[in-house]
């Protein structure tokens, strides 16, 4: 067992992917930043200097303090405080947790929908394929954010008003997932159509395995590669979409703010000169998205044999 892992480790360090990772400093930096952001937001309750949701830990007297290096700032609050006296750095850490959570869950959800639709469309062909792909085409001609807005709006209409805030985060995840599944479906469909004609699938059909087993146990592992690349790129997009929707006021409520909600709240203070409440969450968002984008671009090129 141990030998197996050592062998796996050696194979990893000898692989092309590790080599192309090592040889690009930009990608290494991006990976480093991504890991730091993910780590510090997952463990926000340990890393952050304060807990912004614990009423005992912030004081209105500390409200609107500028960052530590400015004349009126204190070293207590590195990036300043917001209108309620909460430490901006801590709210950013907790906020990126919400942003990443929504991003990851919506990407996974979109991936599941996309894979299932793609497998079914690619394997069955005929009118099922035609109908599913026509739906996908129609949706693709609309920008994702517009669809997310619509799903969000309709969900708001269907749900009772007083549960909006509690359910907002789930509505958001579903809305983003429903606007992003098409990419996966199209990719999985085209690779499934290729795999379907291969001998191992025909062999499985001959020995009479059920259709579902063939789809998920035999074909799925062979079409996952490109799906993972799309997922990385979509993660950045999902985080942006979440931030945008929250900024527009139809996303995560201010009670459990994400980066977008923080930017929205801080935006009101921009004109009175308290720029740090908006700018730091904004920068955090940009750095996160940029790092994930660079990683996604690299992964796409590294896994594409044509570009080697």
């Amino acid at each position: 067992m141990v030998e197996y892992f050592i062998d796996l480790r050696q194979r990893f360090f000898a692989s092309d992917i590790w080599w192309s990772f090592k040889s690009s400093p930009l990608v290494v930096i991006a990976a480093f930043i991504t890991v730091i952001i993910i780590f510090s937001s997952v463990f926000a309750s340990y890393v952050a200097p304060y807990n912004p949701f614990d009423l005992a830990q912030f004081d209105l007297m500390d409200a609107l303090k500028p960052p530590a290096w400015m004349a009126e700032g204190t070293s207590k609050f590195l990036l300043g405080t917001d209108d309620q006296g909460r430490d901006v750095l801590s709210t950013i850490l907790y906020g990126s947790r919400v942003s990443l959570l929504v991003g990851f869950l919506s990407v996974i959800f979109a991936m599941i929908i996309g894979i299932v639709v793609g497998l079914i469309a690619g394997y069955s062909g005929g009118w099922v394929d035609a109908v599913l792909m026509r739906i996908a085409d129609v949706q693709l001609s609309f920008p994702a954010i517009l669809i997310a807005l619509l799903v969000d709006g309709i969900a708001r209409g269907l749900l009772p008003k007083n549960s909006h805030d509690e359910l907002a985060i789930y509505v958001l995840i579903v809305a983003i997932a429903l606007s992003f599944w098409v990419q996966y479906a199209r990719t999985v469909r085209s690779s499934t159509m290729v795999e379907r004609t291969k001998e191992y699938v025909q062999a499985a059909q001959v020995i009479g395995l059920p259709k579902l087993l063939i789809l998920f146990r035999h074909i799925l592992p062979n079409v996952m590669g490109p799906v993972l690349v799309i997922a990385t790129i979509q993660l950045a997009l999902a985080v942006i979409t979440e931030a945008t929707l929250s900024f527009l006021g139809v996303g995560v409520p201010p009670t459990s703010p994400s980066l977008g909600t923080l930017i929205r709240v801080g935006n009101d203070y921009l004109f009175s000169g308290e720029w740090w409440i908006t700018v730091f969450p904004g920068l955090a968002l940009v750095i996160l998205v940029l790092a994930v984008n660079i990683l996604g671009d690299w992964l796409r090129d590294a896994l594409n044999p044509k570009l080697r």
Binding site: V138, S141, F142, P143, I145, L146, L149, L150, D152, G153, I154, R156, G157, L158, A236, I240, A243, T244, F247, L248, G249, V250, I263, N267, L270, F271, G273, W275, T278, V279, G282, L285, V286, V289, L290, N293
Partner: protein
Amino acid sequence: MLAVAFIAFAMFQFVGDPISNLVGQDTSTEEREQLKQDLGLNDSIVVQFGHFIGNAVQGEFGKSYRLRKPVKELIAERFPATLELSLLSAFIALLVGIPMGVYTALRRDSWLAQGFMTLSLIGISLPTFLIGIFLILFFGVMLQWLPTFGRGETVDLGWWTTGFLTVSGWKSLIMPAITLAIFQMTLIVRLIRAEMLEVLRSDYIKFARARGLKERSISFSHALKNTLVPVITIIGLQIGSLIAFAIITESVFQWPGMGLLFIQAIEEVDIPIMSAYLLLIAFVFVLINLIVDVLYYAIDPRLRMN
């Protein structure tokens, strides 16, 4: 188009009860039934859908639940603002994006081209609303050069209100238009560069060089022209995202356009406005596709032959 119309209609049907939106608490059941009959809500779904389409074609979408005004008026009021904003930003994006794209393709290894490419990567990673906020912070709050919200003074031309005729109108327009333009610009730069690099490798460019044509005439009348066909397809598709990003831009700058109206409608679950906006956008999409098809013929003489 019909599919979208059906979704818009379905929203009316299943989301919320129009009766309880129209009457007060103490209306009796008989009165409610009477109202339902008058409004045609007891007809079959097919008949109601027919009515809905008939009204939509005439531009009647009913009254906004929240503002108590006909949706038609609200949209007509806001439409000029959005159109002026989108047109100006598309203009900026094309005017700056095409030369930048051509330059990065022709002088691929120069530091300026590398700089443009880095900028475009950052441009893609920056969410539209952040660009807007940063612009507001620098030019509106710190330097106080430009107004940060609204349209400024507008001139009423009867059926059209325009901000193009006043100084304050132009000043208010600059920042939103740039915000909206940056995203499209980055896309246009990358697209033109990729297409152009492909075209420059093709045989007819080599042949043009062999004929001893000037480099300038090769780049612009041979290479760029052939680049434009796929580029126009994608730019046409991008107009859709122009509309979507106009919603965000309008929200950041409190621009009194349709996008802002739509966002407020979503917050308040104002179904008539939502469905009218949806139909309007679908209509714009169909229109754009038509224009793109016509443009193909204008650019590519090969299509005109058959």
